[in-house]
C-alpha cells in the first residue's frame, strides 16, 4: 500500500475510535442508570416479598390455626373409633 494513504487512514481510524469511545461511555452511563433503577425495583420487590412472607407465616402459624380450629370451627382430634386413615389407591 502506498505510504501516502496511511496518514488519512490512521486519521479516520483515530476519529472512528474517538466516536466509539463517546458512544460506549454514553452506553455505560445509560446502562448504569438502568442498573440503578432495576436495583431500586429489586429493593422494593424484596421489601414486598419479605413482608408478604411474614404476613403469611403470621396468618398460617400453627398456634393461630389450632386456635381457630378449636374455637371457631369447633374441631377436635378424633378418638380412635372415629379415626380413619385414607390410603392412596385403596378406596
Amino acid at each position: 500500500m502506498p505510504l501516502r494513504w496511511l496518514t488519512p487512514l490512521l486519521i479516520i481510524a483515530v476519529v472512528a475510535s474517538c466516536l466509539a469511545i463517546i458512544r460506549s461511555t454514553h452506553a455505560t452511563r445509560a446502562y448504569y442508570a438502568d442498573l440503578q433503577r432495576i436495583e431500586g425495583t429489586h429493593w422494593y420487590l424484596q421489601e414486598d416479598y419479605s413482608r408478604l412472607m411474614l404476613e403469611r407465616s403470621t396468618l398460617a402459624s400453627p398456634h393461630r390455626i389450632a386456635k381457630m380450629a378449636r374455637d371457631e370451627l369447633v374441631m377436635r382430634t378424633p378418638d380412635l373409633a372415629a379415626y380413619r386413615t385414607l390410603v392412596e389407591g385403596v378406596y
Binding site: 419479605s50 380412635l80 380413619r84
Partner: protein
C-alpha cells in the same frame, strides 16, 4: 495599503516583537508543563492529580447483601431478612438546618432528647437517628428533605416462629451477624458477600451519582432445616404444658427420624423471643438439647442389656434372682423399691431393677458396657455442628472400683446430652445402624445405610423389652400412645451440685421409640426438677413423651394399629373415581 504593509514589516517595533515573543514562551512553557504532567506522565503527575481529585470527590459505600432465609423442611420461613432503612445525620449540618422540631416530630422522638444527643455528637460528622425503620416511615422522614439527614439501606432479621424455634435458629446482632444458634453456625452460608460501589459526592458529602460497582453484592444462600415447624410447635406446646403441670424449672425435648438422622423438632424451656431485643436473657438462648450434659441414669440400661446379650452369657429369658431386693457393692447398698424375687432379664429392664442390672454388670464387667456406649456415640459430639454443643463424657480410668463398674451399667459416671440419648435409641429403631444426625433437610425418601453398630437381632430384642416397659407391668405406662404401640425407658437421676448429689432434686427422663411395628421416630424428654411427688421419669417425663409422639405419628401419616371401620359410603367404589 500594500505599500504600507510591506513598509510596516521591517519597521515592526522591536518592543512589540519582544512582548509577543515573551508571551509565546510563557504559553509554550504552560503547554509544555501540561504535556509533561498529563501526556509524558513524568513524576506520576497524572496519577497524582487523579488521586487528589478522587480524594475530594469519590467515596465508596457498602452494598448490603441479602441474608439467606432459614426455612423448615416444608419451606415455612423461620428466619427472614426484610429491607429497612437506618436514618442517620451529620450533626453539624443538622444543627444549622433549624428544623429539629419537624424532624423529632416525624421520628416520634422528643425534640429535647434529640437536641441533647446532637450536643453529644456535636464534634462528629455522623450519628444514628433511628436504626432499622420501616421503609414507609423512613421515606416520610427523608421526604422532608432536612439538611444533613440521610438514609442507609440495611436488612433486619425477623423470626416468624418466635420463641417456638428460638434456640435452634439463634439470632443475629444489630449489624446482621449471627451470634447464636444456627445463625452463627451457618454464618458463612447465610451471610453472602457485601458489595462495594463508588459514588461522587458533593461539598457536603451528599451522593450526587454512583460511578460504578467495584464488587457485586452476592446474596447469602437459604438453608432448609430438617425441622418440621408443625412438630416443633406441638413439641413446644407440650413441653411448656409439662413445665406448668410439674412445676419444673427447665426442660428439653428432641425428636429424631432414626432412618434419616434428621432432627424433626428440638425444644427447650425457658424460651426467649428473638424478635425483641429489649427483654433479652442470654441464658435462655441456650439450646439445652445439645449444651446440657447430665448423667443419663436408667435410660442407659437398655445399652447395658445390649452388652449383656452380646456376650452371650444372657438371653432375654435368663433368670436373675433379685432377692432380697437389695445388694451390697463395696461399701454401698443398692436397693430396689421392693423385692422382685427371681425375674427374667427382660423383666429386670422393665422394672428398672438396680439389683438385677448390678448382677448383670458384675457378670460381664465394665469393658463390654463401655464399648457399647462408645459405639452408640456417647462421649463424642454429634455431627450437627451446633455452637456450644457438648460431647458429654465417658469415664477414662486406670483402675475401676467395684462400685464404679456397677454404676456405669446403670448410667452414672458418664454424661450425655438429650440429643445423644435420642441418637443412641435411634440405633434400636434403625435395625442396629447408626445414622449421623443432622439439622439440615436430607433428600426425601432416602433411608441412609448407616453404620451397623449392633446386630439387627439384638436391636429387635431390645425393642421388645422397651415395648414391655410401657406395658402394665413396666415403669412407663404413661408413655403409651392411643392407637400405637411404643417403647422406651424412663430415667430418674439425682442432680449434681457443687458438692455431690443434691437431695430431692431430680431430672426426670424418658426416651422412646415409635411405632413398634415399624420403628422410626425417637423422642427424648428431659424435665428438670419436677416438684412434688411425681418427680420420676415415668410420672413427669413419660406423659410428655406420649403427647409429643401422638402428634408425631399423626403428622407423619402413620396409621394406627386399630381404628374404626370405614363408613359404608366411603368404602364403596364410588369414591375416588
Amino acid at each position: 495599503m500594500a505599500k504600507n504593509g510591506v513598509a510596516a514589516a521591517p519597521g515592526m517595533p522591536w518592543r512589540l516583537v519582544t512582548v509577543v515573543g515573551l508571551l509565546l514562551i510563557l504559553a509554550a512553557s504552560v503547554v509544555g508543563r501540561l504535556v509533561l504532567i498529563q501526556v509524558v506522565d513524568q513524576e506520576r503527575g497524572a496519577a497524582f492529580l487523579r488521586e487528589q481529585g478522587a480524594m475530594r470527590a469519590v467515596r465508596s459505600a457498602e452494598i448490603p447483601a441479602y441474608r439467606g432465609m432459614v426455612t423448615d423442611r416444608r419451606g415455612e420461613p423461620l428466619a427472614i431478612s426484610t429491607p429497612v432503612i437506618t436514618l442517620w445525620a451529620d450533626p453539624q449540618r443538622l444543627r444549622e438546618s433549624g428544623r429539629l422540631g419537624v424532624l423529632a416530630n416525624a421520628l416520634g422522638q422528643s425534640e429535647l432528647e434529640l437536641q441533647q444527643r446532637l450536643e453529644l455528637y456535636s464534634d462528629k460528622r455522623f450519628m444514628y437517628l433511628a436504626r432499622h425503620q420501616t421503609p414507609d416511615l423512613a421515606r416520610r422522614v427523608l421526604g422532608l428533605k432536612i439538611v444533613g439527614v440521610g438514609g442507609k439501606r440495611e436488612y433486619r432479621r425477623f423470626y416468624p416462629a418466635g420463641e417456638v424455634a428460638s434456640q435452634i435458629i439463634g439470632l443475629t446482632n444489630v449489624d446482621g451477624k449471627g451470634i447464636a444458634g444456627l445463625e452463627k453456625a451457618y454464618e458463612d452460608v447465610l451471610h453472602g458477600r457485601v458489595g462495594q460501589k463508588r459514588y461522587i459526592k458533593d461539598l457536603h458529602g451528599d451522593a450526587i451519582r454512583d460511578v460504578g460497582v467495584v464488587r457485586e453484592a452476592r446474596p447469602g444462600q437459604s438453608i432448609a432445616l430438617s425441622i418440621d415447624l408443625r412438630l416443633q410447635y406441638l413439641q413446644h406446646r407440650e413441653l411448656q404444658r409439662a413445665m406448668v403441670e410439674t412445676g419444673a424449672e427447665a426442660g428439653a425435648a428432641v425428636t429424631v427420624d432414626a432412618w434419616t438422622g434428621e432432627i424433626l423438632a428440638m425444644t427447650n424451656h425457658p424460651v426467649f423471643n428473638p424478635n425483641s431485643r429489649s427483654a433479652f436473657d442470654y441464658a435462655a438462648t441456650r439450646n439445652r438439647v445439645v449444651t446440657d450434659a447430665f448423667e443419663p441414669g436408667s435410660t442407659m440400661k437398655p445399652l447395658t442389656l445390649v452388652a449383656a446379650l452380646e456376650t452371650g452369657a444372657f438371653t432375654l429369658d435368663s433368670i436373675i434372682d433379685t432377692s432380697p431386693g437389695r445388694i451390697r457393692v463395696g461399701r454401698k447398698v443398692l436397693p430396689d423399691p421392693l423385692n422382685y424375687g427371681a425375674i427374667s432379664v427382660s423383666r429386670v429392664i422393665e422394672k428398672s431393677s438396680q439389683v438385677g442390672v448390678t448382677k448383670m454388670a458384675q457378670a460381664i464387667g465394665h469393658e463390654p458396657v463401655l464399648s457399647v456406649y462408645r459405639r452408640f456415640g456417647l462421649g463424642e459430639p454429634s455431627s450437627i455442628g451446633f455452637p456450644g454443643e457438648r460431647s458429654g463424657s465417658l469415664p477414662n480410668r486406670e483402675r475401676w472400683s467395684e462400685i464404679e463398674k456397677v454404676t456405669l451399667a446403670f448410667g452414672y459416671g458418664l454424661t450425655a446430652t438429650p440429643l445423644q440419648l435420642a441418637q443412641a435409641y435411634a440405633v434400636f429403631a434403625n435395625q442396629g445402624r447408626r445414622v449421623p444426625l443432622t439439622l439440615l433437610k436430607r433428600e426425601p425418601g432416602a433411608r441412609l445405610p448407616g453404620e451397623p453398630v449392633i446386630s439387627e437381632e439384638i436391636a429387635k430384642q431390645v425393642l421388645t423389652v422397651l415395648h414391655r416397659v410401657t406395658g402394665s407391668e413396666g415403669t412407663a405406662s404413661k408413655a403409651r400412645v392411643p392407637g400405637f404401640s411404643v417403647g422406651g425407658k424412663t430415667g430418674t437421676v439425682h442432680k449434681v451440685g457443687p458438692s455431690g448429689y443434691l437431695p430431692d432434686q431430680y431430672l426426670a427422663l424418658f426416651v422412646g421409640v415409635a411405632p413398634m411395628d415399624n420403628p422410626r421416630y425417637v423422642t427424648a424428654v428431659v424435665v428438670d426438677q419436677p416438684k412434688g411427688d411425681n418427680y420420676g421419669g415415668g410420672a413427669a417425663a413419660a406423659p410428655v413423651y406420649s403427647r409429643i409422639t401422638d402428634g408425631v405419628l399423626r403428622l407423619r401419616n402413620q396409621r394406627p394399629e386399630v381404628e374404626g371401620d370405614m363408613p359404608a359410603q366411603l368404602a364403596s367404589s364410588e369414591v375416588g373415581r
